[in-house]
Structures are given as C-alpha cells and as structure tokens.
C-alpha cells in the first residue's frame, strides 16, 4: 500500500483541487515518536465531480480532509485549490480562501453550537464576512434553510438540540452553503445517522451538488455509501492510497486486496447471499506510530509475499482511470468481469 506515486493525477485544466505528497504527522506526547496519520498521498478533484475517500478509522482519511482545509496545516506537501497554493499562504489569505471550500462533519450535534439559535448558526458565515445587509443575509439564510428542508421560522427560535440528528446534519449543510463555496469536504456526514435518514441526506447532497454546481469530496468508511454518491473513489489504508478508480469500476473489478476486503465486509441485506467468509482480513490495522515496512497492508494481506514486506508498491495504471498500489493485484485490468474476486484466506 504505497501510493506514493502520482500516476493517477490528471493533467487536465479543470482540476479544482490538487493534493501532492501530503504528509501529516502528530507528535505522541513528549516521546519523540510521531503518528504517521497521512504519509504522502496525492489526489486530485476535478470541477463538478464527487471524489470518495474511503478507509477504516485511523487510516487518515479525516486528517486528509482537514489538512486540505489547512486545519491544522499539513507537515509537508502541497495543496492547490482553484489554482492557488494553500500550504504557503498567509493566515489572512487562508481565511479568505476557506470561504470557497467548506466542511461538513460527522457528528451532527457536536458540529452545531448548542447555545445558539439555529438560524444564527447558519447566518454566522455571512456575519463573519459581512456579506450584504442584514435583510439580505436573512433572505439568503431563509432560502438556504428551505432548500435543505428546515423550516426557517422554527430555526429562528430553536436550538440544535430541538432537532433530530438528520435535521442537524441538514443545518450543517445549510451553513456550509451560504457562502456559496465551490468545494465541500464531507467528513463522514452520514455515519452517525439511521439508514433511512442517511438516504435523505445523501439525496439532498446530490440535489444540492447539481443545483449549485458543487464539487464534493466525500469521506466515509462505508464503501456502499461512498460508491452511491461518488464518481471516483480513492481507497486509503494507514496513511497511504491503495486504489483509485471510477466508482462503478472499483466495485466491478476491485484490484487491491484491501478493496476486496472492504467490499466483502459490507453487510448484504439478503440472507441468501453467500457468506463473505471467503475474504478474510486478519485482525485490525497496525499502529500508525510504527507502520510496517514495505506495503503497509502486508501484515493483514492474505496473499502477501516477500516482495511486499520489503518494497513499497507505487500507484500504477491498470485501466482507464484505474490505479492500484499493489505488487500482486487481485485483478490486473484485463479480465472483463471479476465480481468480488475472492482472496483466499488460506
């Protein structure tokens, strides 16, 4: 799982966000050790597309999202957004640039200040940037609230705890929309919600994306959700990229063993489906403080070989838009159909 390569980056001019060699490290207390949260990943997001970023907790996907927002600034690497280099930008320029990119967080309740009225929360970005007159701001806020399905009258007199989790997530979405950004980074926006509410929020994001011409980066651990909303999916493991592919292709012919594991773990709502035991992943991810040498996935990979323990694989193309970082991919892009090619656990 190397993914230090950049073969997957496109040369087109319509790239909205380009991340190169992003590294984020956090010190572990005063031990001198560091958590290698993100270890040199490169990504690009084209204007108008939805890029899914998927992986287990602790793989660095949320950290990547926040590092793109420069909250906090990454340890190294470059982030280019709308043609401007964010990593070297001054704090005040960065403040300005952040209005063009917004973030939605996982916990719908913790992402809203419990002591403020919902309408004020949604108005806050306009107040910070002093956009328009007070009545104009009110209009924008009411319109946006209606758009996400929240009654502005109720929002004016209620605090977040008077709304359900799904409604709080709608309010967060409204807040991220009022400044009219071009990019929204959604950090696990639906994983705290019931399935029925999750579907509402996903549909809402799709509608808003179409209506406002948004570009989305969608971070989640559930590949089924990511696949539903994304055009392209990037799979992350322990701070590195494993595989990047158009979402339908990723499901149809997953090449990386880890992608196969992720796909097989998704509970299938059908009792007659074959138990997914054929793809067994060994244990849980190792500590990002001392990541394994070679391919980072090799200790859990059922077909790891000597080469995997020593040499870190680079991202390479195995099909149009399909890139994988694995020495021995399950699939090399030539087979026509390989539905969930099983990795033998023996």
């Amino acid at each position: 799982m190397a993914g230090t390569g950049k073969a997957h980056l496109s040369d087109d001019g319509d790239v909205l966000l380009r991340v190169e060699d992003l590294v984020v490290e956090f010190p572990v207390g005063r031990t001198g050790l560091v958590v290698n949260a993100v270890s040199g990943i490169s990504l690009d997001v084209r204007t108008g597309e939805t890029l899914g970023l998927v992986g287990e907790s602790g793989c660095g996907k949320s950290t990547t999202g926040r590092a793109i927002m420069q909250l906090p600034r990454p340890t190294s690497g470059s982030v280019t957004f709308e043609g401007r280099q964010l990593t070297t930008m001054s704090t005040s320029d960065m403040r300005e640039a952040r209005t063009r990119m917004q973030m939605i967080f996982q916990d719908p309740i913790s992402s809203l200040n419990p002591r403020r009225k919902v309408r004020d929360i949604v108005m806050e970005p306009l107040n910070i940037w002093k956009r328009g007159t007070a009545p104009e701001r009110g209009d924008v806020v009411d319109r946006t609230l209606e758009e996400v399905g929240i009654d502005p009258m109720r929002a004016a007199e209620s605090q977040p705890h008077q709304f359900s989790g799904g409604q709080c997530q709608r309010i967060s979405i409204a807040r991220s929309l009022v400044l009219d950004p071009s990019l929204i980074i959604c950090d696990e926006p639906v994983s705290a919600l019931d399935v029925s509410v999750q579907a509402q929020v996903l549909n809402l994001l799709e509608d808003l994306k179409a209506r406002h011409g948004l570009t989305l980066m969608f971070i989640a651990h559930d590949l089924a959700v990511v696949k539903n909303i994304s055009d392209r999916v990037a799979v992350m493991y322990l701070g590195k990229l494993c595989e990047v592919a158009p979402s339908d292709e990723l499901y149809r012919i997953p090449a990386h063993p880890y992608t196969n594991v992720l796909l097989a773990s998704i509970p299938v709502p059908d009792p007659s489906a074959q138990p997914a035991a054929v793809v067994e992943v060994i244990g849980e991810p190792p500590s990002p403080v001392l990541p394994p040498a070679g391919c980072r996935f090799h200790p859990r990979c059922s077909n790891a070989q000597d080469r995997c323990r020593q040499e870190e694989p680079q991202l390479r193309s195995i099909g149009p838009g399909h890139f994988v970082a694995c020495h021995f991919p399950v699939h090399d892009g030539t087979e026509a159909v390989a539905v969930r090619a099983p990795v033998s656990s023996n």
Partner: protein
C-alpha cells in the same frame, strides 16, 4: 422449595430447545412532563433456545426500550410496565431488582453500542472480566484469571495474557467490543442482548464482531437478540426478524421469509433506503419521508400511515392488527401489504406521477449480482 432465582439459575438440566423467552402484550411507558411516552406499546413474541432474533427499527421505534424492559434494566417511579415477560417459564416483570441481579450475567447478558463507555476506564481488562466470574461463580482469583484468558482467546484476542493487564484505552474499538463480548460470555448466559453492537465500528471489524457473536451462539446454544437500525446487519446473522415502528411490532418472520416476501411497506422502505453496491453510482436512494411518530400522541390508525406511500383512508382511522400471513410464523400489521392489489394500484399511480418508487423487493429482486 428453592427460591425462584435459585431455580432459575440452576445450570444443569437445561432443555436444549423450546421457548426461552416469551413476551406477551408488553407495554412500557414513561411519565414525562409532556405526558406518557408509550415507548413499547403491546409487543408479543417468543424466542427459542439457540436462536437469534433481530429487532429492527429507526431511532425512537422503541427497540432499545424493549430490550431493556425485558432485561429489567428500566425501573423507577416514572416507568410503567405491564404485560408479561417469561424467561424459562418464570415471570420477570414483577420481580424485584435484587432477583434480577442474580439473572444478569448468569442468564442474560448485554453488550452495548459504545464499547468505550461501557468499560470502566480505570480498571484493567482482567479485573473487569474476572469480577462477574468471582461474584457469580465463586471462582478463586487464579481460576478466574485462567478462565478470563481462555475467554479472551475465545473472542479471538491475540496475546490474551498480556491484554488482561491492559486498560481499555490501550485497545482499539473492535478489541474493546471483543472484551465486552468476553465479559458477557463469562458466566455462560443463555440469552445475549446486543444493542447496536457494531454501529460504532468499522465495516471490516463489524463483520468480524457479528461473526464472533454468531459463533459463540452456536457453541453455547445461546439465544441472541440483536437490536439494530440496519436491515443489512441482521440479514446474515439472525434466524428471525421483528420490525418495530412507533413502539409496536409491525412485521415478524424468519429472516429468509422476511426478505423473500416482505409485507409491510415500512420494512420495504427500510430496505430500499440502504445503498446497494450492485446498483450503479448515483442511483437515487429511496427515503422514508417524515419522521417517526410522537410516542406521546401517536397518530390514529396505522402509525406508519403519515409516512406511507401506499396509504388509504382506512389506514388513517383503523389500526391494523398483527395478523399471520400465508406462511406460518410470518405476521404483519398492514391493511394493504406489499403485493396486495391496492398496493400495485397505488404503485402504478405513483409511477405515473413521476415519483421514484423502488424496484419491487422480492426473491431475487435485490440480490442479483451479489451472490454470483
């Protein structure tokens, strides 16, 4: 004559099959300043030994309250409980908390959603596992530690001996949930409640934990009640499914029958709202409009009527009873179930009106391409 609790906990001579738990017309209500919240409103079901039952519903459907009422965890002056809960033939509902305490751990155990908050952060793992062993089974410290180590091995925790000396924060979320399962298994319960055991976990760990629970169930001939909001989770891991809505049971069937032949539009809508891997990207997801009913003033008639796509006048006035379907063991509460002429008629109308309606979910309807 031995006391009831003694009789209950005599481990030897347990029958291998038959009903372990029988719940009849159970009501649980909370007196609140807003009025009585009828969280569980007339639920009847039974669970056989060694079987796994999934209780499925959205938040606020009463599924967690149902599980906790059965366990006797909800007591207090503001809680009203009526009906009957029989466990191994013993009535539990009128039992004082001190008697229930004898049952917890030995006969019934529970694992919760958040493995971090359900473990004591200041106590080593070993101590937390051995405590019930020593309290309930009267084991010596050494025996208890040995049992604890083998329990940790049972739940597939590597380096079990070392883990016993660790604190909860030194373990990952999945490991902590394994420890919770080990604690629940410690005294060999006959009934395990798992309340959203995997919601806080990653998908890869989720399937491991569910498999582990299933494995323990088969090995110990234990019954399991799995409470979740995700039909996908219960599909592969339970024998029977009970769907709850607004404090009531609205559909109940064996898992295979339910997925092949679901009757309640609510069950169908729940299933349709799960994103399916085999559908192309950007497929429109079916949603359930509106929100769960207010349990203080539930709507008249069918409680799902205000959110149901197939609603008719009768649904709004007359509450459908839980009646058996053609297949024995399949009960549902709906006037115009999936597959009825009225259902098809309304579906055709909706399709003509341009409203997105899911492909009918039935045998082979949703699983094409998955089981290949």
């Amino acid at each position: 004559m031995s006391s009831p609790s003694q009789r209950l906990t005599q481990a030897s001579g347990r029958p291998e099959s038959g009903a372990l738990l029988e719940v009849e017309d159970l009501h649980t209500a909370f007196r609140t300043p807003r009025g009585r919240v009828r969280a569980v409103d007339g639920v009847t079901f039974s669970l056989d030994r060694g079987r796994a039952l999934g209780i499925v519903g959205e938040s606020g459907s009463g599924k967690t309250v149902l599980a906790r009422t059965i366990m006797g965890l909800l007591v207090g002056r503001n809680v009203e409980r009526t009906g009957s809960v029989r466990f191994e033939g013993m009535e539990l509902l009128d039992r004082p908390a001190s008697d229930m305490r004898d049952l917890w751990g030995r006969e019934m155990a529970m694992i919760f959603q958040d493995p971090m908050t359900s473990l004591n952060p200041l106590m080593r793992i070993g101590k937390q596992i051995t405590e019930p062993l020593r309290a309930h089974l009267g084991l010596s410290r050494g025996d208890a530690m040995a049992t604890a180590e083998s329990l940790l091995r049972d739940v597939r925790i590597p380096e079990a001996a070392r883990r016993l000396r660790q604190y909860p924060h030194e373990l990952s979320g999945g490991m902590r949930q394994r420890v919770m399962i080990a604690i629940a298994m410690a005294c060999g319960p006959t009934l395990l409640f798992a309340d959203e055991p995997t919601t806080a976990l990653d998908v890869t760990v989720q399937s491991q934990i569910l498999d582990l629970i299933g494995e323990q169930r088969r090995e110990r001939n234990m019954s399991v009640i799995l409470v979740t909001h995700d039909l996908g989770v219960v599909a592969g891991h339970t024998d029977d499914i009970a769907v709850m809505y607004g404090g009531r049971l609205v559909e109940k069937a064996s898992t295979v029958e339910l997925f092949a032949n679901m009757k309640m539009p609510y069950t169908e809508a729940l299933l349709a709202s799960i994103p399916k891997l085999e559908e192309p990207s950007h497929s429109r997801l079916r949603t359930i409009p509106g929100r769960p009913p207010d349990l203080v003033n539930p709507p008249a008639g069918c409680r799902f009527a205000p959110r149901c796509l197939y609603v008719r006048d009768r649904c709004r006035t007359e509450e459908p009873p839980l009646l058996p379907a053609e297949v024995p063991g399949h009960d549902f509460a709906c006037w115009y179930p999936v597959g009825s002429p009225e259902y098809h008629e309304r579906k055709a109308e909706l399709a003509a009106g341009g409203v997105a309606v899911p492909v009918e979910v039935g045998a082979g309807g949703i699983d094409a391409g998955v089981s290949a």
